[in-house]
């Protein structure tokens, strides 16, 4: 539990961090002023231009020096914020160090560097003025608030003539206290302004931040997809090593009982028959389930073998042509597999087709999957129930940044084309 005392209630919150903030402002002053001599130099050479045009040759120097100092000053500002502000300024993407001319030029032409130089050369001096003002407020506040102490402490001959234990001094004390009250707020405002300027100009630009965010999101999404795939494979393996083997064993035993125990009463034989049939059905159902999760054949042998398996189980003839020089990533393989298997299921269910064709090929960095049938057509992406059928396929494809198209005029044929990006 936090106990708030009276002084804290009156002065507490603003004062709690005032010390740190004032230190931050004070430390900022020299850094903000660092480029000012270079400005003065530049102004001086400009002025000299009037009399001696030869000075033109010198004018780029202050600018180049500013750019040269920028990384140093930026590092200084970062340290200041880390040590006194308790925060890390985000870093923009800057080309790595290098001593050759090319990398120096590359570094000089980055926007990040110029924005940073802008902070040091333009915002810096302006902030320095405010820094000075705030520090002056603090100094005046401390001195004025403690005016009686000064009067008491200083020998009489040092005193300003008409200042003594007078009512005037009481006003000064009151003014000082008012400034003390204002001080933390002014400091806070300045720190906010400074921080904002530093974040905007020293950190990455908005575009860069968005780009970074997109990259992060893409990476985390890929991670989630991979994890989901890995999980499916794990479940498949567990089922294969456990329940599937056990069910087969059960069915074998029941089959043995049925064929070896010849002299059984009719009703017992019936029960065993039934159990045997159900065990076999359970195996078939479990196999279907496993195929829906992540078939082992896909992991072991790739798309060609897995899709042939899908096609072979369908009641209509399906031709499968898979032409892949190399196997795509497991995630892309899984998406391609489910697209084809779901599309073929749809063909059988709805299309009244007599045959279907599946082609999978790789064109540069794209996996092209085409499923065509000679059915009645009229498949509608929009009309599909959410999360199932075509809409589900489109979503699954979109999850890996693929494109999905379905052309299905009334009367047919239906052609589903899917493009999946895969790394080279």
């Amino acid at each position: 539990m936090r106990i708030t005392t009276w002084p804290q209630l009156v002065l507490g919150r603003p004062f709690r961090r005032a010390g740190h903030r004032t230190a931050l402002v004070a430390a900022g002053l020299p850094l903000h002023l660092a480029v000012v001599p270079l400005w003065l130099w530049l102004a001086g050479t400009m002025a000299a231009l009037v009399r001696a045009p030869g000075a033109l040759a010198v004018t780029p120097l202050p600018v180049l020096l500013t750019l040269g100092l920028t990384p140093l000053l930026t590092a200084g500002q970062r340290r200041r914020y880390r040590a006194l502000g308790g925060k890390d300024l985000p870093r923009p993407a800057v080309p790595g160090p290098g001593r050759n001319r090319k990398s120096v030029v590359r570094r000089l032409t980055t926007r990040a560097l110029w924005r940073q130089a802008c902070y040091h050369a333009v915002a810096g001096p302006l902030l320095a003025v405010l820094d000075l003002a705030v520090l002056a407020v603090w100094a005046a506040a401390l001195v004025a608030a403690s005016i009686y102490v000064w009067i008491w402490a200083l020998p009489p001959q040092w005193r300003v003539t008409d200042l003594g234990y007078t009512t005037q001094a009481a006003y000064i004390t009151a003014g000082g206290l008012a400034l003390l009250f204002l001080g933390p707020r002014l400091t806070g405002a300045l720190v906010r302004l400074d921080t904002r300027a530093a974040e905007v100009l020293l950190g990455p630009s908005r575009a860069e931040k968005l780009a970074r965010r997109v990259a992060d999101l893409a990476e985390s999404r890929a991670g989630v997809l991979d994890a989901a795939d890995a999980e499916r494979r794990r479940i498949e393996r567990d089922l294969h090593d456990g329940a599937q083997q056990r069910l087969v064993s059960l069915a074998v035993n029941l089959g043995l009982a049925r064929s070896t125990l010849g002299d059984l009463p009719e009703d017992v034989r019936k029960v065993i028959d039934e159990a045997h049939r159900e065990a076999k059905e359970a195996i078939a159902e479990l196999n279907d389930l496993v195929r829906g999760l992540h078939p082992a054949v896909l992991e072991d042998r790739g798309l060609d073998a897995a899709l042939s398996g899908v096609a072979a189980r369908l009641p209509i003839p399906v031709r499968v042509a898979v032409d892949l020089p190399r196997r795509p990533s497991p995630t892309v393989e899984a998406v391609a597999y489910f697209v084809v298997s779901e599309a073929l299921t749809n063909v059988v269910k709805h299309a009244q087709a007599t045959r279907a064709d599946v082609t999978v090929e790789r064109i540069r960095e794209t996996l092209l999957v085409v499923v065509a049938d000679d059915g009645a057509g009229g498949a509608d992406l929009a009309a599909a129930v959410d999360g199932t059928g075509l809409a589900g396929l489109a979503k699954r494809v979109a999850s890996v940044d693929g494109t999905f198209s379905c052309r299905s005029p009334a009367g047919g044929p239906t052609v589903i084309t899917v493009e999946l990006p895969c790394a080279p």
Binding site: V248, S249, A251, L256, S259, K280, A312, R319
Partner: protein, 216 residues
């Protein structure tokens, strides 16, 4: 008949052993990997080896490779592969090397005890046994060729032939008379332009043509 089994899943191994023993096979050896299998075949020279496709250490196609070695080095030993799923390339590899004394079935078929023992006997006696799913899957690969001229019924007959059935087996499966089957088979031979040699050889050729293994 004498048999060895190579299967790394203990439950299934016990199941197969029980089924085969009940069917009168003498189980000479039970092993869990390809190396053990080759040693057991060398030692016992069994009539048939029942082999899991995926076995330690790689869990890929150890069983298929061992089966090919066995068929080459010990012609007296037939091989029957058991697989969790259909990989038609394995079946094709196996059949390309040998057309007799080989089989390829899904593991779950062991549960159909009578049919399984029938298939094992057939393979051990030098015949073939292909899982209906293997046959269906091989069909997916077939592009336009004489097979397209077959009627659906003839196709069915050919599929069953590919699975290793005799004429009477096909007739029983399709619930037609044996003479009807013979008629279908003759029609198949004609449509596939198979030479008029002895019937068994034509049968094998038709099946190979069907599976896309023999081209002539």
């Amino acid at each position: 008949m004498r048999a060895v089994i190579a299967e790394d899943s203990l439950l299934l191994r016990i199941g197969v052993v029980k089924v085969l023993e009940a069917a009168g096979f003498e189980m000479c050896a039970q092993v869990a990997d390809a190396e053990g299998l080759l040693a057991a075949v060398e030692e016992h020279r069994p009539d048939i080896a029942v082999i899991d496709v995926r076995m330690p250490p790689g869990f890929t196609d150890e069983g298929v490779r061992a089966a090919l070695v066995i068929r080459r080095q010990y012609p007296g030993t037939a091989v029957l592969l058991l697989s969790q799923y259909v990989e038609e390339r394995y079946a094709a590899d196996l059949l390309a090397a040998n057309t007799s004394g080989v089989g390829y079935l899904l593991k779950q078929r062991v549960a159909d005890v009578e049919e399984f023992t029938e298939a094992v006997r057939r393979v051990a006696a030098g015949g073939t046994a292909l899982d209906p799913q293997v046959v269906a899957q091989l069909l997916v690969r077939r592009h336009s060729d004489p097979l397209d001229r077959l009627t659906p019924r003839e196709r069915e007959v050919l599929e069953l032939m590919a699975g290793g059935r005799s004429n009477s087996g096909v007739a029983a499966e399709l619930v037609v008379s044996e003479s009807a089957v013979a008629k279908h088979i003759n029609s198949i031979f004609t449509k596939l332009d198979l030479p008029k040699a002895d019937a068994d050889h034509r049968r094998v050729l038709a099946v190979l043509r069907f599976l896309g293994i023999a081209t002539a």
